[in-house]
């Protein structure tokens, strides 16, 4: 037994009770949370007032307005706060936009997308949470209001990591393996842009982790499938991409049931019949609930609208077979290392893609018959392949045009990715190599944060 293996999740031999005992048993989670959340909080506090290019000004505007008007309506102009951020601090890496800083900013049309908010496609749920929690954080001396709102991202991250840990504990994995992979996600471009700025992807990471944790409990008969219905509906209140999480849960439960029946020696007919039980219909109902809530909200948007002008972000394009085909490799190809902005050093992140691919494809290659949970790698590969095409198809059906689905929309699958790679990490040198590489990425992201703060003050 290697040194690394000695520190496994199976630390049940630590019988000390109370706080110290819990800390000793869950040391991997403690290390990950302290390092991951601490790092993310520091990065967030080092940011200037310049905003992320991933629609952060739209979200800040929404958060700014929720106390006064509850929701932001379609066609509404961006408020003074965000116009000031555009004009005086700018968008990373594009710089200042709109009117000159300090000048008259009353003309919204000089700001991006005609100064009209694109955020009303979201329900106000996340923005209310961000506002309430962010304002509470902002009460801490030295933390300004925007930093407080952004620091909520650290909490979404922490919550997600806790559930990732609960999932990982079900597998034969080492504690340091979990620390390495989780921190690699924190240090990745996905982690940086999602959790250190205001982002609507951040809660979907937590949502994906909770959904998978619950799904694994449902598969083993430890929880009711009705939870998935409730979760499906709740997820749509945050973002339509929560469909990926509940869709994946559906696929996983079918795969789990099929493999369970086959292991018990069931005939092909019995397998088919056995699949259509509660583990089929309730998860399907969860998917339906998610789609219905999202559809209802989509129908409500024009009812609330103050004017009919839709925001054109210039990303729509006519659908083609080739564009659609590319979606099959979209999520896995860019799961961890999709990058904004483009820099000469972006190749530094490419090994993160190798990690993601190795996790998802490698788990399918290596999991032999009789492995503890073959359903997870099989369903994860299916999920990574079809989630982006499904989302793209739904966009085409809903709008008639196509837009390239960003890999970050697959964020709900990251917890499963972490779960499948952990049992594969048997070589302590591999864990150390990943930790060393992660340390380099953390330093690089810290450096980029300081550079961004200097270039876009």
């Amino acid at each position: 037994m290697t040194g690394t293996e000695r520190r496994t999740f199976v630390d049940a031999h630590i019988v000390a009770s109370g706080f110290r005992g819990a800390m000793a048993r869950h040391w991997a989670l403690v290390v990950t949370l302290v390092a991951g959340m601490g790092y993310m909080a520091i990065i967030t506090l080092l940011h200037s007032q310049a905003v992320s290019p991933i629609d952060e000004p739209q979200y800040i505007d929404y958060i700014d307005k929720v106390y006064g008007q509850g929701i932001v309506r379609s066609g509404e102009y961006l408020g003074e706060l965000v116009r000031g951020l555009f004009a005086c601090h700018g968008v990373i890496p594009f710089g200042v936009m709109g009117a000159a800083c300090g000048s008259d900013m009353s003309d919204p049309s000089v700001f991006p997308f005609g100064g009209i908010s694109s955020a009303p496609i979201y329900t106000p749920v996340q923005f209310w949470i961000d506002r309430l929690v962010g304002d509470a954080i902002g009460l801490i001396p030295g933390i300004d209001q925007l930093a407080g709102w952004r620091l909520v991202g650290t909490l979404w991250l922490g919550g997600g990591l806790v559930f990732c840990y609960l999932i990982a504990r079900r597998f034969r994995a080492t504690g340091w393996g979990f620390v390495a992979v989780a921190l690699a996600c924190v240090a990745s471009p996905f982690g940086y842009w999602t959790f250190s700025f205001v982002s609507t992807d951040a809660p979907i990471f937590l949502f994906g982790a909770i959904t998978l944790w619950l799904t694994m409990r449902i598969a083993r008969g430890e929880s009711s499938g009705w939870w998935l219905v409730a979760l499906g509906a709740a997820g749509a209140l945050f973002k339509a991409t929560s469909l990926v999480a509940v869709g994946f849960a559906f696929v996983y439960l079918i795969a789990y049931r099929i493999l369970q029946l086959r292991r018990s020696g069931a005939t092909a007919g019995a397998v088919v019949r056995g699949v259509f039980g509660r583990t089929f219909w309730l998860p399907l109902l969860g998917v339906v609930a998610n789609v219905v809530v999202a559809a209802v909200w989509t129908k409500l948007i024009p009812i609330f609208a103050v004017r009919s002008s839709a925001v054109d972000q210039g990303v729509a394009t006519p659908p083609t077979f080739d564009l659609f085909g590319q979606q099959f490799v979209n999520f896995l190809g860019g799961a961890l290392q999709w990058v904004v902005p483009q820099t000469d050093a972006n190749n530094l992140f490419l090994p993160l893609q190798w990690l993601a691919v190795a996790a998802v494809v490698g788990a399918v290659l290596i999991y032999p018959r009789g492995a503890r949970d073959r359903a997870l790698p099989v369903s994860l590969l299916i999920g990574y392949l079809i989630a982006a095409p499904v989302l793209a198809l739904s966009v085409v059906i809903a709008t008639g045009s196509f837009f390239p689905i960003p890999p970050r929309y697959g964020i709900a699958l990251i917890p499963a990715l972490i779960a499948v790679v952990l049992p594969l990490m048997r070589n302590r040198w591999a864990v150390r190599a990943l930790l060393a590489y992660t340390a380099v990425l953390l330093m690089y992201q810290l450096g980029m944060t300081l550079v961004f703060a200097r270039w876009y003050p």
């Binding site: 080739d322 085909g325 590319q326 099959f328 490799v329 896995l332 190809g333 000469d344 050093a345 190749n347 530094l348 490419l350 090994p351 893609q353 190798w354 990690l355 691919v357 190795a358 998802v360 494809v361 490698g362 399918v364 290659l365 290596i366 999991y367 032999p368 018959r369 790679v421 594969l424 990490m425 048997r426 070589n427 040198w429 591999a430």
Partner: protein, 366 residues
């Protein structure tokens, strides 16, 4: 996995015994021949053959478009498949797995260019497989380590990239010596000499000003890296030239659905990375796995430094110039395919890519 290792029960003599003992080759050789010849014949004479490298770059470029040579070049692939089967079996790969990795080799974008035209990539595939096979034989005590030296010398004819596979051999044999706790002088001495031998002919070519290198040559006034950009160049070379080159790229033809090849490359990425994640000192393949993982990252910097030493300039490397590494990556991949369904999936996807390759050869280069 229920496939049998045919070699263990292939006791019948004559051709029947040969067939029974090498069932993967019975499948792979004719199919790869049909595929390679179809692609070679589909290439139009007006299309530009891919750039060759090494001492023979000039003559190869001159005759590269010859359809007859294009047909003959399948022999390099056939040789690589034979050696790949032998090496993979040494590390416990079942028939189905050997067919899977052989299929990936036969349909990969590297092979699309390597055997459809008479260039240097075909020989590089073969020598890459030969080096790994020979090193494994040496590690098992079945061959003298000094055989590596003439092989490296000859392989060097086809370019300085050959050094990358002999770096794998060196690290692999160091690993074997470490595990054994002895035999250092014999194993490592020959491997070091072989690594040096692999760069003798590229060095002569550089001094004499003939041949070509796997990068934008200085004499063409191509893009070169200044000393300040060298560090960034090395970083890019680390991820772009080794594993990145053989796993993230398609055939590079305008309009080709490259995502077909991306999915194929995932198998190689997963193989190399997961084999390293799983490596244990007690495994026979561990030295090779560790060597391949290391060289997957070191190839780019190694080539950059060698070319800098030979030509005096930092060059932008051609990513696909490292065909020599593909057999090593696939042998390592074979050690992690333990799921029969996954092996079938790889074979099926390789079949789809084979069809795509034929279509591309007809439509895009024909």
């Amino acid at each position: 996995m229920t496939s049998t290792v045919a070699s263990t029960n292939g006791r019948a003599s004559g051709w029947r015994g040969l067939v029974a003992g090498h069932r993967p080759l019975v499948v792979l050789l004719p199919l790869s021949l049909a595929l390679s010849w179809t692609i070679a014949l589909a290439h139009g004479t007006g299309a530009v053959p891919p750039a060759s490298q090494g001492l023979l770059a000039g003559p190869l470029t001159a005759v590269g478009g010859s359809p007859a040579l294009g047909l003959l070049w399948w022999l390099w692939l056939a040789g690589a498949l034979v050696l790949l089967e032998s090496t993979a079996r040494r590390f416990g790969a079942r028939d189905l797995v050997v067919i899977a990795i052989g299929a990936v080799l036969a349909v990969s974008p590297v092979t699309f260019w390597a055997v459809g035209w008479a260039g240097s990539d075909g020989p590089l595939l073969f020598f890459g497989a030969l080096a790994i096979w020979l090193a494994t034989q040496v590690a098992d005590g079945r061959a003298s380590s000094w055989w590596l030296v003439p092989v490296a010398l000859v392989a060097g004819v086809f370019g300085v990239a050959t050094a990358a596979v002999f770096l794998i051999v060196l690290i692999q044999l160091i690993g074997v010596a470490v595990v054994r706790g002895g035999g250092w002088r014999q194993l490592i001495g020959a491997a070091v000499v072989a690594l040096a031998a692999s760069i003798v002919l590229p060095l002569i070519a550089a001094v004499a000003g003939i041949g070509s290198i796997p990068g934008t040559p200085p004499e063409t006034g191509g893009q070169t890296l200044g000393p300040i950009g060298a560090a960034l160049g090395i970083l890019n070379a680390m991820v772009d030239t080794g594993l990145g080159a053989l796993s993230h790229r398609g055939v590079g033809l305008a309009g080709a659905p490259e995502y077909f090849y991306v999915a194929l490359g995932w198998v190689i990425v997963a193989g190399v990375v997961i084999a390293f994640f799983q490596a244990r000192r007690s495994q026979a393949q561990a030295p090779l796995v560790v060597a391949v993982a290391a060289v997957a990252l070191l190839t780019g910097p190694l080539l950059l430094v060698l070319v800098r030493a030979f030509y005096g300039e930092w060059l932008v490397l051609q990513p696909l110039g490292v065909a020599v590494l593909l057999p090593a990556f696939l042998v390592v991949t074979s050690t992690v395919i333990r799921n029969r369904g996954a092996a079938w999936l790889v074979i099926a996807w390789s079949g789809a890519v084979a069809v795509l390759g034929v279509v591309l050869a007809i439509v895009a280069t024909g």
